[in-house]
């Protein structure tokens, strides 16, 4: 089945220790997104790629970086995680269909910072 895959599902890192979260997709969608979600809140968009074009949200901290080496893969790098970065990180993909975009989410990576 076509899907969005995130690895790992659970990640524990130490305060200040760089960490990378991975996302891959078999949907062949040209748009990929990274969201941060804290408990019972709506997902907060960090950045997205439209094809190879990187779009950073204005309030995304510099501590968060992203790479998209090809259509299928996207990575979220947190350079120096703080305690406040503990959250669920969601990857999503979409493509334009009749002028609209439906987003398909992965299962998420739960990040714990100790």
């Amino acid at each position: 089945d076509a899907m969005v895959i995130q690895n790992p599902r659970y990640q524990v890192t130490q305060f200040g220790k760089p960490v990378t979260l991975s996302c891959s997709q078999t949907l062949n969608h040209n748009v990929m997104y990274w969201y941060q979600q804290k408990s019972s809140q709506a997902p907060k968009l960090l950045f997205h790629y439209y094809d190879k074009d990187f779009n950073n949200e204005a309030d995304t901290p510099d501590n968060f970086q992203s790479r998209r080496p090809n259509t299928s893969f996207c990575f979220l790098d947190i350079r120096s995680p703080g305690l406040g970065d503990a959250a669920m990180y969601l990857c999503a993909t979409s493509r334009e269909l009749a002028g609209n975009y439906e987003q398909y989410f992965g299962p998420g990576t739960r990040l714990t910072v100790t």
Binding site: V4, Q6, V31, Y33, S40, Q41, A42, P43, L45, H48, Y50, N55, L90, A92, S94, E96, A98, G99, N100, Y101, E102, Q103, Y104, F105, G106, P107, G108, R110
Partner: protein
Amino acid sequence: TQLLEQSPQFLSIQEGENLTVYCNSSSVFSSLQWYRQEPGEGPVLLVTVVTGGEVKKLKRLTFQFGDARKDSSLHITAAQPGDTGLYLCAGDDNQGGKLIFGQGTELSVKP
């Protein structure tokens, strides 16, 4: 900045009751999507509504898009414990794939 106001924020009901969740905005959206998210998982797309006044049904769930495409509702008939989760509405305002999310409705259905 466009906002999507979702209400109620929390809802706790008994099995068999009906409920409605609302999403309202002062802005027009080209489409609106509803998601359900279970604890520890990613949101799952339930439906997309595109046309003003459109009504879509998914088993016991009824979704409506307002005539002016500024608001939407989700009605659940005879709720079941399996309906428990976080319900999110998200509007597409033609920003090249970005969605505006509502705050979410945390639904708990007790047996």
